[in-house]
Point group: C2
Chain length 156, copies 2
Amino acid sequence: MSTTPGRSDAGLLYRRYLSAVMLHGHASAKACDLGATDLYALNILELTGPMTPGELGTRTGLTTGPTTRLIDRLEQAGYVRRVPAPDDRRKVIVEPIGKPAELDQVMAPARQKVGAILAGYSAEQLDVLFDYFDRAAHAYQEAAELLRSDSGAVCP
Amino acid sequence: MSTTPGRSDAGLLYRRYLSAVMLHGHASAKACDLGATDLYALNILELTGPMTPGELGTRTGLTTGPTTRLIDRLEQAGYVRRVPAPDDRRKVIVEPIGKPAELDQVMAPARQKVGAILAGYSAEQLDVLFDYFDRAAHAYQEAAELLRSDSGAVCP
DNA sequence: AGATTTATCTTCTCTGAAGAAGAGAATATG
DNA sequence: CATATTCTCTTCTTCAGAGAAGATAAATCT
């Protein structure tokens, strides 16, 4: 902990970083006239590809009812499409078919700034950073799943 | 961009990382029986120290009405306290005076996992990572402020 | 083969949070 | 001393999420 003098406030620095990321996520959703969850769901669909409402609900942390209405909103806005699943006629596949027009413009400042920061690192340093991003993504995903299953059962 | 073959999907990897961070933030708030905004505001107060409702509203991206009720909720839960400002009797200072009891327990899995990841890096590599965290935090904060001021004025 | 159970999605109603507009109190400025 | 500005709080309306209940299709069992 106290090996490097500049890292005594590492935890604080890290939390500030997470706070900034979350604030920006919220602000960009609002700039697209979307709720935070809506933009988040759209992001998941684009990253992971088409999926059923059930899976989308699991990934967003929503129950089935709100998930249907979330898809309704996205479909009405023209960002996703409902397609019947070919193998199972109970299922529906939610496909991303578009993005908010303002999204690129909204994300531009952050992309530009982060790009400029990353451009200042050497190839080896970038390897370290992206290695961390990859591992941390899995870590947070697992931690979030743990929280969802533990809901209310915090006492052993 | 295409210098390193393994980094062609850097953007994708990075977005997955941000998604995981946001999902975890949302899940942990729910695990504390708080709204995402409430936990976020509490986090800001702990990181930055006491501030007026106006500043808290600006930082959370809320307008004045919801900010008052946000503080009401936090005050009723015993997490913050309203103190009259000594220099200006219009103002109120919001002070953090506690945290949700479950917070440490909720954050434990993520902290442990991220700690384990960070423990695997050398001192030089950690310097790179925390240098990035620091710069990126400022970048996202600036980008978020830009979005808030540009709201609706996307066309030049 | 027919009936039952399971799974998936949707609909409905209720609670809670965010936005908009306005009021009241205190400070700063002319 | 009077006016304008700043800051917070209050009220009303709108929208998103939780939960229970219902409908349709697939899988399983007898």
